[in-house]
């Protein structure tokens, strides 16, 4: 009987997860300290809601139908801000190059960034919802709505992270991201707005289901495609 100690080989998947976690945590920790990105996104989102208040003079009835649209437009714009800043900081501080040199699978970088970008977007959304509820005296607390916001944000950030990695390497940088992102993210916005409004107006679940299906399908397809092509976008 051998008495040699057998060391467990670190599982590849384990180290992958650890890399993803490390990359996501790097951004989250940095943000916890400075709170630059979050405050920018939040202020921007609240300003957008303010502008909507004046741009669309709404009575209580019309507002009910428009709420989900206003919310998602706000999220889309604030999301763009977050995605842009997140990648720009990465590039400017040379972090991206550093990460690329590390013996880490490129897709770990992708997932790490997606998680941190998603976290920022969700935090902003979590604050915007109650603020909107108060400002317009509507009850937005619905579990279904939270689910839709989650699914929609995942799809948005999955594609947005890939595209912002590209945009940050072009001459026009910040301007490029919305131009690239918005036409491609239409299915998410359409489905999210319809599903949100469905939950807010308590429409039977059977009618909301097709929209939720669309969101899930989009999320799965684009997470897969984005992580497979991320390599091509960051290689030197």
């Amino acid at each position: 009987m051998s008495t040699t100690v057998v060391r467990n080989k670190p599982s590849a998947f384990g180290s992958f997860l650890r890399a993803v976690g490390a990359i996501a945590w790097k951004d989250l920790a940095a943000e916890l300290r400075s709170r630059e990105l979050l405050s920018a996104m939040l202020v921007f989102a609240l300003l957008v809601i303010l502008i909507f208040n004046f741009a669309l003079e709404l009575d209580v009835k019309t507002r009910a139908t428009i709420t989900s649209g206003v919310l998602w437009v706000t999220f889309a714009f604030a999301g763009t801000l977050g995605l842009n800043r997140s990648m720009a900081v990465e590039k400017d501080r040379g972090c991206l190059d550093g990460l690329l040199l590390a013996p880490v699978d490129r897709s770990a970088i992708y997932f790490g960034k997606v998680i941190s970008n998603l976290a920022f977007m969700l935090i902003v959304e979590a604050i915007v919802l109650p603020v909107y509820s108060i400002l317009y005296n509507t009850n937005l607390f619905s579990l279904g709505l939270v689910g839709v916001i989650l699914l929609g944000s995942i799809g948005y950030v999955a594609v947005g992270t890939l595209l912002s990695s590209m945009a940050v390497q072009t001459r026009t940088r910040d301007v490029m991201l919305p131009i690239l992102l918005f036409p491609v993210v239409v299915p998410v916005l359409v489905a999210a707005v319809k599903a949100s409004s469905g939950f807010l107006q308590s429409i039977p679940i059977s009618e909301i289901l097709p929209w939720l299906n669309l969101l899930v399908v989009y999320d799965i397809i684009f997470i897969a495609v984005a992580f497979m092509t991320f390599d091509y976008v960051v290689e030197e």
């Binding site: 594609v159 890939l162 595209l163 590209m166 390497q169 072009t170 001459r171 026009t172 490029m176 131009i179 690239l180 918005f182 036409p183 491609v184 993210v185 239409v186 299915p187 359409v190 489905a191 319809k194 009618e207 097709p210 929209w211 669309l214 399908v217 989009y218 397809i221 684009f222 495609v225 984005a226 092509t229 091509y232 976008v233 290689e235």
Partner: protein
């Protein structure tokens, strides 16, 4: 740069002749439709352009994937050519669709799934061209172009489905009961022949223009490489 190949010259002439024939068919062979009148005839070239636009769209998607696998820049040239040409054909499709819509449904724009998806596709094409413009390195430009083509191409069917779903749940306020069915007219055999012929003609025009645009892309590549060489 080699002079225009004989085959391409022949294609040019054939394209022009066939186009003339198609126009004759539209103006004189196809009958006048009862409900909409003459404007219905716009449909023949409208459908032909949409069909050819789709060809370009598929060609761009395939070229993108092949480029990512082979890293051979000639596929990048094919991809840009396909995007540019598809953009032109879909532009014609959208504008003729709009011109057809006005006398028939009294509106310049119908938010129907096909027209709306075509418009979004045009925006994706423009975004693609802008993206390329902002990148100097040809290899990176090709890589990014291919990735965006892939993302764009995949999003289009989903966009179409989402808008169609949107429309079945919220029926169109504007006009006709079934705008999606190309204005719901019955096609007589002469109309069918005209339409099929138009589709065939535009397919040939597509090949001619595609070929020319690819040659232009190769010339661009030659110039760029020479510039790079001289600047060293």
């Amino acid at each position: 740069m080699t002079p225009t190949p004989r085959a391409l010259r022949v294609l040019e002439i054939v394209s022009l002749l066939l186009l003339a024939a198609a126009i004759w068919m539209v103006f004189f062979y196809a009958p006048l439709e009862a409900v909409m009148g003459a404007v219905q005839k716009v449909f023949y070239f409208h459908v032909a352009n949409a069909w050819v636009g789709m060809l370009g769209f598929i060609a761009a998607g395939v070229a993108g994937i092949v480029y990512l696998r082979t890293h051979d820049l000639k596929w990048d040239i094919v991809e840009v050519a396909a995007v540019e040409i598809s953009l032109v054909f879909f532009l014609i499709t959208i504008v003729t669709g709009s011109i057809w819509a006005y006398p028939v449904w009294n509106t310049w724009w119908t938010w129907d799934p096909r027209l709306t998806t075509a418009a979004i596709l045009e925006l994706i094409y423009v975004a693609y061209l802008l993206l390329r413009q902002g990148i100097e390195d040809p290899e990176r430009r090709a890589r990014f172009g291919a990735v965006y083509t892939l993302i764009g191409a995949l999003s289009v069917p989903l966009t179409f489905m989402s808008i169609r779903l949107f429309r079945t749940i919220h029926p169109v306020v504007i006009g006709a009961a079934n705008p999606g069915a190309q204005g719901s007219f019955d096609m007589t055999p002469k109309m069918l022949q005209t339409m099929l012929f138009a589709i065939a003609v535009f397919s040939i025009i597509f090949i001619t223009l595609f070929w020319h645009r690819i040659r232009f892309g190769r010339l661009q590549q030659t110039v760029e490489q020479l510039k790079l060489k001289l600047s060293q």
